[in-house]
């Protein structure tokens, strides 16, 4: 396949263009800082985006809208469990992973047992998760343990630690999709669920694992974000509802299912941060910024999807 047909190309081109335009304004000053900030903030979008990508790959109608609530709940409960005590970082991660596992299983139980459409099931369940977070938080702002906060805001080899975690998770997902039996099953189920079932694919197990994977990824993102920003907040996940879906679509993953794209999610995550910084540095007000962001997203999606038609 030629380079121009790679569906991830467009999100990376868009990210590079936004980067270049921003840096052009400052005549090259601050380029390093901008790249560093994009990698830090982009990492959170990429982690939740990878999970959402797996669910969207399951085919039309599959989406997880409980990502923001899961992030909030996992950040809140993990920080509460750690209570700012040193040496509790791994225990906190364990709590976050359990939250992800729990919400994923609950989501899939609603989808499978009650036959609810995923969009309704995850949205309704997220109200419960958000309520749990409010109830356990009670307005407290608990600081993360110092060591964990240092890790989340720190860097290794000049790259933000959160971006390295995101990169590790991306490689894991890429390997699963491209090389593992489970990945093949997921891609087959997304193309034609009935045909996959008749070919011997355990489709319900694949769907369950996927709905658990997305919330586990959201929980990891929530844990890291709470540590990064010095404490959990009840609205900390809000912007990741649209973000998780936008980075998947801009990244070139097929909304029709059956085709995933890991590098595209990263390009799109960087782009989503960079486009806002670009509009900021050109002095656009909040209203203009949102309108332009929306228009740019639509443009990229059109470019990416029309390029892909002649396969």
């Amino acid at each position: 396949m030629k380079l121009i047909q790679k569906p991830w190309l467009w999100s990376w081109l868009a990210a590079a263009a936004a980067f270049a335009l921003t840096v052009a304004l400052t005549e090259g000053r601050g380029a390093g800082e901008l790249a560093y900030a994009a990698l830090s903030f982009g990492a959170f979008a990429a982690i939740v985006g990878l999970g959402q990508m797996l669910v969207i790959t399951l085919g039309p109608g599959n989406v997880d809208l409980s990502i923001p609530a899961t992030m909030t709940l996992s950040g809140t409960l993990a920080l509460k469990a750690m209570g700012s005590d040193p040496g509790t970082a791994w225990m906190g991660l364990g709590v976050a992973l359990l939250v992800g596992l729990g919400t994923g299983l609950a989501n899939f139980a609603l989808i499978f047992l009650l036959r609810l459409p995923p969009i309704i099931a995850t949205l309704a369940a997220s109200l419960v998760y958000q309520s749990l977070a409010i109830w356990s938080n009670r307005g407290l702002r608990i600081k993360p343990p110092a060591g964990l906060a240092d890790f989340a805001t720190g860097r290794s080899f000049g790259i933000p630690n959160v971006a390295l975690v995101g990169l590790g998770l991306s490689i894991l997902i890429w390997l699963l999709l491209e090389r593992s039996v489970w990945g093949r099953w997921l891609l087959a189920s997304g193309q034609n669920l009935r045909a996959a079932r008749l070919a011997g694919v355990p489709v319900e197990a694949v769907r369950a694992a996927t709905y658990v994977a997305v919330t586990v990824f959201a929980a990891i993102a929530g844990y890291l974000l709470a540590s990064f920003s010095g404490g959990a907040a009840l609205n900390m996940g809000a912007e990741y509802l649209l973000m998780s879906i936008a980075v998947v679509v801009i990244g070139g993953t097929s909304i029709a299912g059956g085709m995933s794209n890991v590098p595209g999610v990263w390009g799109a995550s960087l782009f989503m941060f960079l486009v806002v910084s670009m509009l900021n540095s050109y002095g656009a007000g909040a209203g203009v910024r949102m309108v332009l962001t929306g228009l740019i997203i639509i443009g990229i999606v059109i470019a990416a999807s029309t390029r892909r038609i002649p396969r």
């Binding site: 090389r179 099953w185 193309q191 070919a199 011997g200 694919v201 355990p202 319900e204």
Partner: protein, 476 residues
């Protein structure tokens, strides 16, 4: 090529028409005239260029070189010249009703109350072609059986739709119809041609070709290799012209000892080790549902054992078989992944070896198995689905009318392969709408209204007994 009435102008005239897809010469210079009253039988292997020829005639593809003209009507386009096509891959919109589907190709229906004339027209067309069809014009298409959908599609092809059908192209129209309905269609074709219409009839069932065709055209590798009046061919001569060494249906069926009973269902279907068990009867009488119940009951949506106990060969490729975004390789290997995996990862070398071996054994026509599955013709896609099932070690193979759109030569190869696999102890549960295939079985269950109405074995398996069991109590 002046076989029909010399006075009339041809409905369609092709002059050295060719169509190339990159280096592939799908149609390699064909000249052909079709006159009113002609019924042209078109035969050839999968990938011989039949579908391309049809698409050039109906305007779906523009020829790379040569020309297509419509002298009788003087029209510029196939649509205006009254050329209609009925495809083997069903092209109805499943969420719309029968009458609404007629509207899609009938743009003259306008205004607030277009549904009433649409209903009347499709009803009349169905009554004309398939008397006693029992299809409701207001039924959504997805509630119809596959045979009923095919009937609707054929009726739409012959419906006047504001003008008049002059040339109707039927691509494998009978492959999902049972014998009674197929006869109604053949009768209608003869009537239609006698009334000055023309038909291009594509079928892998040579008996039907000989019954309706006035002329037979044999294609191979994009060229017309033989064209004669139907009387000028014998069955064997036709098969030879297609260029396949047809092995006479091997009568030497190894005498097998009946093995242990492995399959048994509440409705009374039984199968022993090494048996080929047929499910027969009129199309849509519960055979496909019975197979789906057996398969879904024997396998799980939650776990996939290393050695599958049962595999499924789909007949409705688009709905039940093909994974459209994938390559031939990945489509063929999906059912054997747990078998060849190491620690959950696919062993890609073994995967490629196994698929390469099956490509050779079953003769999938492609240069490279990493090509997309949709680059193959329908019959070759079907071979991939066979390879998918047979490559596994599963002791039971369930086949849901799998020979639709498969050419005569391949059918013989697959029959032989099925017999060889059965001799090794595999069980085949085989639903087929073709009596010829059912007669290959060791034991046949005839279905009527969702229930088994007869069980036939040995010499009792013949067309007469099957028809008898299919219709009992109905005609009286």
């Amino acid at each position: 090529m002046s076989t029909a009435a010399p006075l009339a102008a041809p409905i369609v005239a092709l002059t050295e028409a060719a169509k190339h897809f990159g280096p592939v010469r799908a149609l390699d210079g064909v000249s052909l005239s079709i006159f009113p009253g002609d019924c042209l039988g078109l035969v050839g292997h999968n990938g011989a260029g039949k579908s391309t020829l049809v698409n050039v005639v109906n305007g779906g593809l523009a020829p790379t070189s040569g020309s297509v003209a419509f002298p009788a009507s003087g029209a510029a386009t196939a649509l205006a010249a009254g050329v209609r096509s009925v495809f083997q891959e069903l092209s109805l919109c499943p969420n719309l009703t029968v009458a609404e589907n007629l509207r899609i190709s009938h743009s003259a229906l306008k205004g607030m109350n277009w549904r009433a004339p649409a209903r009347a027209e499709i009803r009349a067309a169905l009554d004309r072609v398939f008397p006693g069809h029992g299809i409701d014009a207001d039924a959504p298409v997805d509630t119809l059986s596959i045979a009923q959908r095919q009937m609707v599609e054929i009726a739409i092809g012959f419906a006047p739709r504001g003008t008049e059908a002059r040339l109707v192209i039927l691509d494998e129209p009978t492959s999902s119809l049972d014998a009674g309905i197929a006869d109604q269609l053949l009768t209608h074709i003869k009537r239609f041609c006698a009334g000055g219409g023309a038909v291009i009839f594509i079928s892998h069932m040579l008996g039907e070709i000989f019954e309706v065709a006035t002329r037979i055209l044999v294609m191979k590798d994009g060229k017309v290799v033989a064209e004669k009046p139907a009387g000028g061919f014998t069955r064997q001569g036709l098969v030879d012209a297609m260029g396949h060494v047809a092995t006479e249906a091997a009568a030497a069926q190894a005498a097998r000892l009946p093995g242990d009973e492995v399959v048994r269902t509440p409705e009374g279907l039984r199968a022993r080790r090494g048996e080929i068990v047929g499910l027969s009867g009129l199309a849509g009488h519960g055979q496909a549902e019975a197979l789906a119940r057996i398969y879904l009951g024997a396998t799980s949506s939650w776990r996939s054992p290393r050695e599958a106990g049962m595999v499924f060969v789909a007949g409705d490729r688009g709905r039940d078989g093909v994974l459209p975004l994938w390559s031939i390789l990945r489509n063929a290997s999906i059912s054997i992944l747990p078998q060849i995996a190491r620690r959950g990862m696919v062993d890609r070398t073994r995967e490629a070896e196994i698929v390469a071996e099956w490509k050779k054994r079953i003769g999938i026509r492609t240069e490279d198995v990493t090509n997309p599955i949709l680059s193959l013709s329908g019959g070759n896609q079907q071979k991939v689905l066979f390879a998918r099932a047979l490559a596994s070690a599963a002791p039971v193979v369930v086949m849901d009318d799998p020979m639709r759109g498969v050419d005569v030569g391949t059918k013989q190869d697959v029959y032989a392969m099925i017999r060889a696999e059965a001799a090794k102890g595999r069980i085949f549960l085989w639903y087929s709408t073709e009596t010829e295939e059912v007669c290959q079985c060791d034991r046949v269950f005839v279905f009527r209204n969702g229930e088994i109405s007869a069980e036939l074995t040995g010499d009792a398996i013949n067309e007469e007994r099957i028809l008898e069991a299919s219709f009992e109590m109905e005609g009286a």
